[in-house]
Amino acid sequence: MSTSRIAPRRGITEAVHGAPRWLGWLVGLAALALLVSLFLGRYPGPYLTRPSALIEDELGRRIVLELRLPRILAAFMLGAVLSASGLVFQMIFRNPLVESGFLGVSQGAAFGASLAIVALGGAAATVQLCAAGFAFLGLAASYTISQRIRYGDWVLRLVLAGIAISAIYSAGTSVLKYLADPLKHLPDITFWLLGGLWAITWPDVLHVLPVVLPSLAVLYLMRWRLNLLSLQDETAFSLGAAPGRERLVLLIAAVASTAVLVSKAGLVGWIGLIVPHIVRRLFGADAQYALPGVMLVGGLFALLCDNVARTLLTGEIPLGILTSFAGAVFFLGLLTRAESVRR
């Protein structure tokens, strides 16, 4: 028996039959987009870079290899991770309105990074470890507190706990900003909170890879369980799942990868919320296809937005603006069109 039977709305036939082929196309499209992105930029002239120019041009070659390539990879990973964790959160918490900025994860990472900059010297590794540490702490705190709240079902409790923890963290970050040395630390924190991918170089990518790849692997391999975990605990248990433990593993993978990426790219919103919805429209809710789907679509989406951010003007466009604008418009279009088709 396939777990995909639980896919709501879209029937099994509808979702599953087309999905593998769609995934194949998406993989091809992603590979193509990654390749083409290498030849998009501002140097030597705006927009398309002729490959032949790179053969003669040493600076051009170095820009492509040392700035564009790591940035392209980071953008794809950022989109894939934010979307995948968004889907995981939405399924586990059975709440379509959550993403990684939930549960005190992003704010925890921001606080951890600021603390590392102010108090621990601010070396790259310290900042990352501290960001990930506080993101986990945020998750753990939200989780623990939610179990002590005496009213509402656990989804509501977790949402409430997450909001409270986020608020405490962001207040903490403000205090750190106030205390920071304006010449030595503050510019770093301010930059960090603003975010963007323009500062990504190879060392940054190499820092995040050892966390991101295993996390994505965990999410991918456990996508079957995700379907079960999205049921009520009793039902999941009766189907052979150990909900508490498996839920924790999935959350850890989602939070770890989000924290390390956010600690390099700053806070980029909306991807984790919108992409899972788009993908569910296309593939159905079955995580078997939806999870690889969100990784690919999320990666593609972030990559396209970042390409626009770095190529369109002589100045960088903030990535968050593009992701929320493009994402929301596309999402609205998809929603209304799907409705009309159904009628």
Partner: protein, 534 residues
Amino acid sequence: MFHRVSLLALVTLLLLGLSLSACQAPTPTLVPTQPPAAQEAVAETQAAPTEVPPTEAAPTQAPPTPTEVEQAQPVLTVVGKPLTLADLQALEQVAVDVEGESYTGVRFLDVIEAGGVTAETLIMVASDGYSSYVDVADLTDQSLLAYNQSGGVDVVLPGASHSQWVQDLVELQVVAAEDTQESASESSTAQPEPAPTLAGGPIELTDSAGQTLKLDSLPQRIVVVGRGPHMVLHLLYMFPDARERLVGMESKSATSNDFARVVDPDLGDRTILAANPGPEQIAALNPDLVIMRGTMIDPMGESLAQIDIPVLYVWMETPEHFIQDVENLGAVLGNPQRAEEIVSYYQTRLDRLAEGIAGIGEDEKSRVLLLEYNDRNGEVAVRVPAKSWIQTVEVQTAGGAPVWLESAAPTDGWTVVNLEQIAVWDPDKIFLVIWYTLDPEQVLATLKADAKWSALKAVREDQLYGFPTDIFGWDSPDPRWILGMQWLATRIYPDRFADLDMTEEVYQFFGQLYGMDQAAIDAEIMPKVKLDVH
């Protein structure tokens, strides 16, 4: 079925990955190695759209050394050849009317011919060390060297920016033309060395970010970006050499180049980057030096270091930083003499301020409040500057005691204060830095009419002032801070600084630091300067 073992294995793998990433070696050292030849060569083959006419200065800054002194002292040295007043009078004498003024002298072109000069671009050096460039092709029969009161000559260039009207011209120098045919395949050893200034070896300096910057040759393509890029530009424009080498700048707003338009006739040739350019947008201009404000190497600097574009950080928030910044610019522009002149301009004035406030005890100091006043759709906000900012330093150096350091000690940015706190401070003097879109006189009138404000001691005693601006404010980390500081001193201690004539200081500032003559200052600057709004 998912087993406990594999679960554990996955978690372990994950944690292992996390610790691995944390233990990664720190970022590779970002030493700005320097193959400018490669970049330059690249620029050639790529025909980057922003290519400037490749010229480079030959800064032989040594004073003119006339070899033959006959009946008169030479008034002018033309590319090493001294010319006396008699030599000039031997040329055809002409008179020209420009903007209602009449000038008598000799044609610039005749003098060039008499000096046997064939160069396309000349450096005009004034007796006070100021220098500016002129393209021989731009000279007309109306371009004069006019006799002045002191027995020398002034440059008169009808139609050109007044910054080029060099007063009391003493020397014309040649700008060496760069070999534009250099092929892309040539190695860095073939780089045409820009010159005598590098005889002492590569430039090595420490900048405001505390980094050691090493340059093997004088940068020829400078780009200004980062926060407050216009303030960095204003610093750069004090060096005539910079105008030849500046290829582009970031512009944060429509008004941020307003002063550049006045002092930089070639502004139209420069590439203006939109706000927040990334490293690649900057690299597209092929810079061999990027200048920005900062006190630490930021991620932008690190990204640029990856592609070997060196960054010079300046700061300007204190006089000490400012002097370091000026000296560093003098070094990278190959014109330390100009840096010395600028530093001495500031130092003289700082000394005079220190002298003026000498002997005032800490508790006798006037209690001063400096506020930024902003009004967005009727929402008024008044804010005090950070402790380490130039606005605070200006008040302190002018002998005032900043009341806002007594209780709150904001570390960064403007911090909003409320009227209650201001009433508790009840300062002797209040200076308002009024948002540039607002009319200062109207703002002051509104505040004086306000019952709450008018109860303050400073307002009752008519000690509420609008902080002066010209095109830009005098309170900012911009070369203008010295004007702000001097003006504050005259308002805080009018008796001690009775001899300090601010109008004269404005003429001196723009004349000596930017080479503007009186006519230009009267036209561009003075109409905007309001010294006495209170």
